[in-house]
C-alpha cells in the first residue's frame, strides 16, 4: 500500500452554498495515491500556519475522484478564514482522509442520518454514493435548520431524492416566523418524527454529525428515549 502523505492541494473552485457556508474543491496533485471511504474527513492547514489544523468531513464521496470537497461554515478561526478568504488558486495542505463515520451500505439496512446546520455535509457524500451505485440500502436524512435560508445542498438533495427511490430528504425548520409560507415540518427533531420515518427499527442505523450538543442530543434520543443499542448509532462530534 502507498505510504500516506500530506500534500499541498490547489483550490480548484470555491462556491458559496449559503451566506455563511462555502464549499471548496481541492484538486489532487498528479499521481496522488489515496484510498478513502465516503464519510471520512480530511485535516487542513494553511501554508503560513502549519501548526493550526482543523478537520473537515468530506462532502464529496469516494466515487468522486481527482478532488476532495469540503463544506465549511463561517465559525471560529479556521472556519472564518476559509469562508471569507479561501479562493480559487489558493493552496492548502491536506492530511489524507481518516475516520470511522462510514455508511453501512447493506441491502436490508436503513440509515437514518440526523443533521443540524452544517452537520449535513458528510450526508451529501452518503446520498451521492448510494444513488450513483443504485444501492437498495434505504437512506433518510432528517435535517434541522433554523429557517429555509439555512438548508445546505437543498437542490442537490432534492435531485438525488428524485433519482433514488430509497433516499428521502426531510427538513424541519426551528425558527421560522408564523407567516412564513413553508409547508414542511416545523420544530426540533424528536422521537415521534423519527418513528414516522422508520418502519423497522431493528434494521435502522443512526448517524449524527456536527456540533457536540446536537450529536449528544441525538445519542440521548436514540439510546435513552427509543431504547436502541449502542451498535445502532454512529457519531461524529465536531467540537
Amino acid at each position: 500500500m502507498a505510504k500516506k502523505k500530506i500534500v499541498e492541494m490547489l483550490i480548484e473552485s470555491a462556491t458559496m452554498e449559503l451566506a455563511d457556508t462555502k464549499t471548496i474543491r481541492l484538486k489532487w496533485p498528479e499521481d496522488y495515491d489515496v484510498s478513502f471511504k465516503t464519510g471520512q474527513f480530511i485535516t487542513l492547514y494553511w501554508p503560513d500556519s502549519p501548526k493550526y489544523k482543523r478537520a473537515y468531513s468530506l462532502s464529496s464521496c469516494a466515487l468522486d475522484q481527482g478532488y476532495f470537497e469540503v463544506t465549511v461554515k463561517r465559525d471560529g478561526k479556521m472556519g472564518t478564514r476559509i469562508v471569507d478568504w479561501a479562493k480559487e488558486g489558493d493552496s492548502l495542505y491536506v492530511i489524507p482522509p481518516t475516520g470511522r463515520f462510514l455508511p453501512v451500505y447493506e441491502p436490508e439496512k436503513h440509515l437514518i442520518c440526523i443533521a443540524g446546520g452544517s452537520g449535513v455535509t458528510p450526508f451529501r457524500g452518503f446520498a451521492r454514493e448510494a444513488t450513483r451505485r443504485g444501492l437498495p440500502t434505504r437512506l433518510t436524512v432528517l435535517y434541522s435548520v433554523r429557517t429555509t435560508r439555512d438548508i445546505i445542498f437543498d437542490t442537490e438533495f432534492r435531485e438525488l431524492e428524485s433519482q433514488n427511490p430509497h433516499f428521502k430528504f426531510r427538513v424541519t425548520c426551528t425558527r421560522l416566523s408564523e407567516e412564513d409560507p413553508w409547508s414542511g415540518r416545523r420544530g426540533r427533531i424528536d422521537t415521534p418524527w423519527i418513528r414516522e420515518q422508520v418502519t423497522d427499527l431493528p434494521n435502522a442505523v443512526f448517524y449524527a454529525c456536527g456540533p457536540t450538543a446536537l450529536v449528544e442530543g441525538t445519542e440521548r434520543l436514540v439510546i435513552d428515549e427509543m431504547g436502541l443499542s449502542r451498535d445502532q448509532i454512529r457519531l461524529e462530534k465536531w467540537g
Binding site: M1, K4, A55, T98
Partner: protein
C-alpha cells in the same frame, strides 16, 4: 488524573514512554499525551537505520487540531518502526501502549537510562 500510566514503563518529560528489553527500547506516547492531542490523523515515523541523539525530534504526530514532535528518549539507532500507525494513526489513540507504539531504538548509551522518569515521577510531572 485518570490517565493510564503503566508502572513497568519508563517515561520522558516530553510524554514518550519507553519499554526496555535488554539493549532495545520501544517508544510510544503516553495515554495522557494522546488524550491531550485529541484524535490523531497522521504519524510520520523516522527511517529505519537513522542515528538519533537523546532529545532529538525524530517523529511527528498530527491531530485534528495540532502537530507535535516526538523526541528520541535515548540515543541510538532506529531499528524498527510501527508501519500500521503510519496507515492508521488512530491506533495511537486506541492503544497507546500496545498497537500504537512508534519506533524501536538500539540503545548506544546505557548511562542515559538512569535519567528517564518512573511512572510515579511522570505522573507527578503531569499533575502539576
Amino acid at each position: 488524573m485518570s490517565a493510564n500510566i503503566p508502572n513497568e514503563l519508563r517515561y520522558a518529560k516530553s510524554h514518550e514512554w519507553i519499554r526496555i528489553d535488554e539493549s532495545v527500547a520501544t517508544v510510544g506516547i503516553s495515554d495522557h499525551a494522546q488524550a491531550e492531542l485529541t484524535e490523531l490523523v497522521f504519524v510520520e515515523l523516522p527511517e529505519v537505520g537513522r542515528e538519533v541523539e537523546q532529545e532529538e525530534a525524530c517523529a511527528v504526530v498530527e491531530s485534528v487540531k495540532t502537530a507535535s514532535d516526538i523526541y528520541a528518549p535515548l540515543s541510538g539507532t532506529i531499528v524498527a518502526v510501527n508501519e500500521p500507525v503510519a496507515e492508521n494513526a488512530g491506533l495511537v489513540n486506541d492503544e497507546p501502549y500496545k498497537g500504537g507504539w512508534l519506533f524501536e531504538i538500539k540503545i548506544s548509551d546505557p548511562d542515559e537510562l538512569s535519567g528517564l522518569l518512573t511512572a510515579e515521577q511522570y505522573l507527578e510531572s503531569i499533575s502539576g
